[in-house]
Symmetry: C2
Subunit: 377 residues, 2 copies
């Protein structure tokens, strides 16, 4: 029996264009991609079907397409291609939601650690959010970065991640930097008895990734940062399956796909890209800019991603939402009750701008332990 | 002496927002990503500089930012991150053009074959465009696809590529399909004396790519199709450096980055993404939808990409523009004088819709040999 992958799109046809006709085009474009009648048997097997087309109260229409699961071949990239390959080149179409069939999910392992595993790695008890910081800025020396890593670890952050712009620049070469920062975090852990986790940035040349993973192993790192749209989502999948480190997914380069659903007629809804797809690929935590920071996303966007990262998804583990993008230390207390417990608050710049990053981190570490997150999450 | 990578952006500030201030934010967001004053020495080394901010006659402003080349660390993904990492998450900003310094270009090899090499692979004399077709539709059996490959090769197309949706589906598993299609193309070549090139779709699991390259070697294939935004641009770079096959880059999943510059206030101008970046990564040919087909791009978009694929770029070879997306056989003759000689016309559906694809291909093969492309190109 043919199983189906159901995807919901919002279409914004140009005036005079028929929504049903456009939905049929979409289903054809994403599968057989040829005029009707050339290959009836192939169409029988592979052609997407339009389930439903309804006008949307705010304009355009909402359509649901059923794709045969077999069209994905059980491969992540072909799954992305079926959902958002050629049609990414259209204007006036947005991928809104995906209904994941169990037979498809069974072909993916998702996060290797997930929420529970990542909590264990930083010894953070269930029920409270986590505190993270980003080592920055790019242009700093190894010594400067390592010193900062040590300070915030002593202050009690759960997780220190590299800024996503730190790679292998001459100012702070990868191996030297990772070993030095890891050492300072280990030292802090020995001093405090805590388990601050250090996640170096692994985004880099694909043919040097194995070598960099060896550096992580040498440094005793159990987590890494990757930007899925830079390294490719299937590289994330492969890392999740084999690398043995928890993966924190960064949204660099991904914004072109996903603008806030309230402001765009194109792209992939943030909940689908950062919620469903990053999780399916294997991200244990997903970085996304919080509302009211430097980026144009809303609390609704963030809550929707949170919901998808936590939603039941066959045997695929839930992931943390890691909120960054300009969370002010002064406002952290106000955000904690907005989101659920499985949230990581990522503070970078504002922490290092304080006179004592260690003390500042310590105060924030107290907040995530004492302010109650949203209930029922 | 610090060398700089200059990037031009178009900014669309919200009313009341200052263009200069926003440009400074951009330069900071893409490099040190922290408030001023935290790390003066790091800023000295790595902070992007605003060169110029000018109002644009059609709204917003045009800004030029100079990034220290060292910020890229000589890595493709970090280069992408500097140009379009976090700022991809902004609204109202578009990357318009990049001025490539020689010291940066020297760190990339670009296309392994380029225009000349790809012409040699299909024995196509300089000065004429090439004719290509896409094997389709997905859902066809190996036998059906191989038969179609043989027919169009007998008709005299220069290049047969897999449709980008053909991967390893049960209907036509990768190895079986590639061997069978290659065999039919080889047979046709023996019969005609021509050198039609078959390019299977290599887009798939990154950890099975080496295995699939072996299949290509077994099948005697010298070219492959990849979707850079699916496999990741650095995987393309790595393949170009080591795989020994010409790479045809497909725009699947890439459309979210690049809508026509006349219609969008976001993303990366098509000329930058498909012209500069795909070429730099190592694409020997870049598929892009022609104007007046199924996709919302203009002749100007296509000509701008063509110009960037051909522009002098240190020692980096030029690449072909491969125009597809619904070019009608009936209108091919009209397009040839619009574009230069280093263009590949990709016709799929309309060819297979004819009573004899072989004869239809033969007629088109005559056109690309007898109609003059645009001069001076």
């Amino acid at each position: 029996m043919t199983e189906f992958l159901r995807a919901r799109y919002r279409l914004f046809p140009v005036p005079g264009e028929d929504g049903v006709e456009r939905a049929r085009h979409l289903a054809r474009e994403q599968t057989v991609e040829c005029p009707p009648g050339i290959a009836p048997e192939a169409e029988e097997r592979a052609l997407g079907q339009v389930d439903r087309v309804e006008p949307h109260p705010e304009g355009g229409c909402e359509v649901t397409i059923s794709y045969p699961v077999d069209a994905t071949g059980g491969e992540l990239l072909q799954l992305l291609n079926v959902l958002w390959g050629n049609v990414s080149l259209w204007s006036g179409v947005r991928l809104e939601a995906v209904d994941w069939p169990a037979s498809l999910l069974a072909q993916f392992r998702g996060p290797a650690f997930g929420v529970d595993g990542l909590r264990r790695l930083c010894a953070a008890e269930p029920g409270r959010p986590l505190l993270a910081t980003a080592l920055k800025p790019m242009g700093s020396t190894v010594r400067e970065l390592a010193r900062r890593a040590g300070e915030v670890a002593l202050g009690g952050v759960d997780l220190v991640k590299d800024d996503h712009g730190l790679t292998d620049q001459g100012w702070a070469p990868f191996r030297e930097r990772v070993l030095a920062c890891a050492e300072m975090v280990h030292r802090a852990n020995r001093a405090t008895g805590a388990s601050t986790l250090y996640a170096p940035n692994l985004t880099g040349p694909v043919d040097r990734m194995a070598q960099r993973l060896e550096v992580l192993a040498d440094a005793g790192c159990r987590a890494a940062l990757v930007a899925p749209l830079l390294v490719g989502l299937d590289t994330v999948r492969s890392l999740a399956e084999t690398a043995g480190v928890a993966l924190i997914a960064h949204p660099a380069f991904a914004g072109s796909f996903a603008s806030s659903v309230t402001t765009s007629e194109r792209g992939v809804a943030p909940r689908v890209l950062f919620g469903d797809l990053f999780r399916l690929a294997g991200a244990d935590a997903v970085v996304f800019p919080n509302a009211e920071g430097r980026f144009p996303y809303t609390v609704e966007d963030c809550l929707e991603i949170e919901a998808r990262l936590a939603a039941p998804l066959a045997t695929i583990q839930p992931s943390f939402l890691m909120l960054g993008g300009g969370i002010d230390a002064a406002r952290l207390a106000r955000w904690i009750p907005v989101y659920g417990a499985d949230t990581i608050y990522l503070l970078g710049g504002s922490l290092f701008a304080s006179a004592s990053p260690r003390d500042a981190a310590g105060e924030l570490a107290t907040l995530v332990r004492h302010i109650s997150p949203r209930e029922g999450a």
